[in-house]
Symmetry: D2
């Protein structure tokens, strides 16, 4: 088949499923496989992935392992948080935002290694396949994308295990049986879904949660922290400057300790069905509250309301996999423009599952005590101006009122 890939870069975790894919690619397409394993903060050692890849016959120079945490937070997570992006009112897009970066590196490594295809381990029912592939096609329109889950006939756990055994793929003891649910993790969040969680009427059992304590088990005393922003991005916690990934790591610790950022959610997938997910986004939840807090005093209503009205569309684009699209880039230009003065510090209270802004200050603040004060404002504001303001805002309503009265 002329369309068959000759050399494939595989997004490889080192786990059983992507090991099976690796082998399947070799046997199905008789092609060379290059592995790519990224540290996005999922909290797993990466070196075992190298050993496993070698064991499966990948040449050392074809094994790529990279720490992408700083790039992930700096170029993907932070730009997204400038928009206060939440999908369908609640989901902080932890999985969605990681996929474009992985695709970007897959395509770059393909270019560097002369590969003509990339492959991923996402199924044909979810959003991730879309995110991986749209990103890959946008960055290299000639690339081939292989999605084994949509192609092969290994459609049951039994068949997968069988294939693994036939191909000498080592199987960890706890992987023989079915996992009770499926997990994705990176520096921004952990998501769990499927199987035991498929009934949205039933509360998720506590053992599902992996990086946050239960609010009931969180400390009985609130903790106060201060987050400092520059031009829309967090740059310091409690006055200590940190790199983007370090900040998110630290906020994860703080949020996780206080049981912050758990979400039990039913969402609409791009492919047309609803799914139920359990998300833990401890640091992101704190970061969102903090960012909103600093915007409260540094953005005016014109900028803020415009951002708010476009946020759902921006979030939908990221959720649906259109990070590398003209419209996402256009919205980003708009959002970034708004952040020029989003600089200052927010004080937050963390307590048993909640994060609340309790103070905010900034040299760039637009809050004017002189204007708002109940006390004497020394002429900063002439209350009589409000009469004219209301009169002209009311004019069209009066004309409508008079018109409509004629037809009652």
């Amino acid at each position: 088949m002329s369309d068959a890939p000759k050399k494939v870069v595989l997004a490889y975790s080192g786990g059983l499923d992507t090991s099976i894919i690796l082998k399947w690619l070799q046997t199905e397409y008789n092609c060379e496989v290059v592995t790519f394993t990224a540290d996005l903060g999922q909290g797993e050692e990466l070196e075992p992935a190298r050993q496993k890849a070698e064991l499966l016959g990948i040449k050392p120079e074809d094994i790529h392992i990279e720490d992408l945490r700083e790039e992930f937070v700096r170029d993907f997570v932070f730009p997204m948080f400038r928009a206060n992006a939440v999908y369908e009112g609640e989901y902080l897009l932890g999985t969605s935002i990681a996929r474009p970066l992985i695709s970007k590196r897959l395509v770059e490594i393909a270019k560097a290694t002369g590969a003509d295809a990339v492959a991923h381990g996402a199924t044909g029912k979810g959003n991730d396949q879309v995110r991986f592939e749209l990103s890959a096609y946008a960055l290299d329109p000639s690339i081939k994308v292989i999605a084994p889950w949509r192609e092969w006939d290994l459609t049951s756990r039994t068949k997968l295990i069988e294939f693994a055994e036939q191909n000498q793929i080592p199987i960890a003891k706890d992987k023989r049986g079915e996992a009770p649910f499926s997990v994705d993790a990176n520096l921004l969040h952990t998501s769990s879904e499927g199987k035991a969680l498929e009934n949205p009427a039933e509360e998720a059992p506590d053992y599902v949660y992996q990086r946050t304590v239960s609010p009931e088990d969180a400390p009985n005393t609130p903790e106060y922290i201060e987050v400092t922003f520059e031009r829309g991005d967090a740059v310091a916690i409690n006055g200590e400057a940190m790199s983007p990934a370090t900040i998110l790591t630290k906020l994860n610790e703080l949020g996780g300790k206080h049981g912050i950022g758990r979400l039990d959610f039913v969402e609409n997938r791009f492919v047309g069905m609803k799914s139920r997910g359990i998300y833990e986004t401890p640091g992101g939840t704190v970061l969102l509250a903090a960012h909103r807090g600093i915007e409260q005093i540094t953005l005016d209503s014109g900028a803020g309301h415009l951002k708010d009205s476009l946020m759902p569309r921006y979030a939908e684009l990221i959720y649906n996999g259109f990070w590398f699209s003209p419209e996402r880039e256009m919205l980003q230009a708009l959002i970034d423009k708004s952040q020029e003065h989003v600089t200052g510090t927010v004080r937050l209270k963390l307590y048993k599952g909640s994060v609340n802004t309790v103070g905010r200050w900034s040299d760039h603040s637009l809050y004017s005590e002189k204007h708002v004060t109940f006390e004497d404002d020394a002429g900063a504001y002439d209350q009589k101006d409000a009469a004219g303001f209301i009169k002209l805002n009311a004019l069209r309503l009066k004309l409508i009122g008079n018109r409509n009265a004629k037809f009652k």
Copy 2:
């Protein structure tokens, strides 16, 4: 002055400030005054207002006292919650939504009593003057609106007290001095702002909060409740059917007990300045979570995303006082249309300041376990369809990628 009002309907609370206004209207304009006092769930006895009005010379037939709680929740709060309306990402519009109803009754009473004007006690710096007046003008374009705070020269506490004393207005002992902040309350929320709260960098002291316990003082054990919706409106709690106002009252008790619904917020007023408010919306916060929870399974993405994208505009209209405007009514028609199947029950966990959806079910659910399942789906969904779906979604991105590559 030909423009002077002859008979004025005053929004009268019975408190010192509106009593001063009552007297001032009588003396300044030599006009008849009709008082209107509404129970919107602010938690105060209304009969003292009657006595005070009589004391100030208002004829019994000119004193109007009404319990508007059911109308308030049914015709204003619930329609607004169908939209999941929050202003600037966080504020539940508790004050904003009450004003149009008060204006509506002011204008109706004016018509019934032959009055040519209405009056309110809102200052010239805030949003409430706008909300009162836009509503009044929309409902009766010929009405006069008198806003004494924008007109008179009683511009200090001292002058107000002096005027009260000169006019035999009784002054409660605790009203002689300046209140440390200003409060507004109704069945949906309590807001506090001004004076002691004017520095947005400083945490609000705990004594500001009036209808919620501190999360730290809330019960150590979570409480689970179930809220049932029909066509977008809450109709029962824990299986017990209740009237709209009863439901909100009950949710307030539950939310308040668990420290839910506190918000420390800096917002953009319509009149152009920023202000800081402390809001307590215990029942509303629970209701919003519940409504979002039931929409998760009963609204599809097309309906939900359209609603989401218009919500900021809808909320802004209410905040700015445009309840009685064609555009709010158009948006309401759109929102109400979306709620035809928003029927079902949500299970919520209340605990120390947080409310979380933990389960939801409905005969109207669009969630299809058959489609989403990780298990065998018996052909409900063909994963190969996803390949074509992605290919066509990618087509324009590929064309762009090829084009852009030419110009690098």
Copy 3:
């Protein structure tokens, strides 16, 4: 094959292509075929379709021929024109709006005749397949849709002719060769695309145009007409009341005679590619101008601007085939709400390709000469109100100006 259709309702024009489809369905699936031929104002006799269907072996009771012109204009075209819908700034959606009605009748006839499938003659590259199928699936989720152009191997003109000959399908002489472009027509428009028109740099030759004269050939004298609206829909021309389809027919005559409504356009198809079309929408172009004209005086800015901002999304939904979707219905509710007072008359000048509004009047008019006049307005408007209006609108800009000045 268990999935094979047993009885199919085919959208049948009587032309060569759908006759081939008819035969192909019979032979490929060995299924019963029911034909459906609709008069949507395409300007062709329908009875020949009946004869041809009979000739191809369809039983008389399985041949459905219907005049849908009134339903088409009343329930599809007019609701769409209430929104002033144009796709990508220019296209009046003439093809898009006809497809949902055809699908609706296909599905209804399937139900009535016990058919389990419907079939259409749209290709796999265009938008029409999407429109037909989304509508059909929305109205009957269990229906099968057969799109022969995506399935069969009759992929060249030669093969099609061969198949026709083998199956005794009569071939008109002029259909043996390739048509120079492809045409779709209904009461709203005629579109031409493909082949001779595929180079968007080259002007379309004049022989492409079928229902409008060239502006150069139009009368040398302008013609004035008056169109009267009630609640957003045209109800009379020059004072003469007419049914919806009659109005559109009459406007087509008028517009066509004056060379109005030609459009040479490159658009973005939903399936991801660009295409070039030549559209003729004479009556629709006049109707759009007239509707905008009457809205100018009967809609206020709040209603008008909200409509304007949502129109692109509404138009995109129709273009993409989502007529029967919750979000289109929600938008329709919003739009229809806005039209309650869109009643009155517009005077238009038609001349050599242009239609211009030159006058409009209505009992529902919001235009107030009293307010706008340069002459003495007798106190209708106090110019001093504008000072306060501007001051408060400027307040946030001043605060921004002061802030930004600090950081220059």
Copy 4:
């Protein structure tokens, strides 16, 4: 009065009205007056304004006359046309876009000359006062703005003439009487409104039009032109490179000659009333058609639809005077981002009032004949992909259809 201005920069046309204002400022406020007269392409000699200012006692160094045509087109008109901005569906914003530039120069000259105030000749009923003042306050929050028409008692033509006579202001013969309507002009357009035009039911008489011939009087032969764009801005006509102002001047000639760009319009003013205007925008109308034409092939649907959906808001901001606001700048950043590849050439046909795109080509084109062709596409597009695309787009509609069927 401490608030009284000491030195005022007046937007001075040299005409009777602004001469009266000049004198009135001197007498009312006893302040120094600096005049500013700009050539924005209104087609009037500016030197008479200098002589007249001198005659009225302005010192030569306080008379500022500037040719701003290039800045006007380059920094205001062209950025606006990148957005395809039209207000309320039709108005090309010719007056609106000029005001911010005038205010910018007024404020800059105030700074340079040590003036503490600026003054303009716009009335209290229109939009221009808002546009002048919002711009001035945004650029210099401490500036005072004087709007004599809102302040003085020269409220009739008689009083104005009287004041002029008393103050030795020369009055041209034709200015003694009332002009039949009011005119504003610049390089982008001429607008006429008021008095004779105040009845929106009556067609405007032909003598109102000043820079376009009547379509009936335009040449009987069409003229074809080509406009070339680079990154969204017109840079050449018929292959000849020109400066921004030269291009617009040339397009005005071409459009005016062919009777293009006349608009009879009723619009909603920001101050709440409707007004009727007659606009002539010959070059702008051609430019808009051309810009849309080039975007047809160089913008993809994602970028184009996003722009389209935000255009009404962008246009409203400019109309309402918010050019110098964060939200306009944010939208501009988004729009400018979209224009990076809007480069190429459009061929247009001009004929008796109409401008039509008849061809467009570009190295940056996204139009792919290979994909769209009705002919064999050599595998560029697999029609079977469309089946999956439609299936997944239909999935939610099917789920809704099944759900809704349960409740019928």
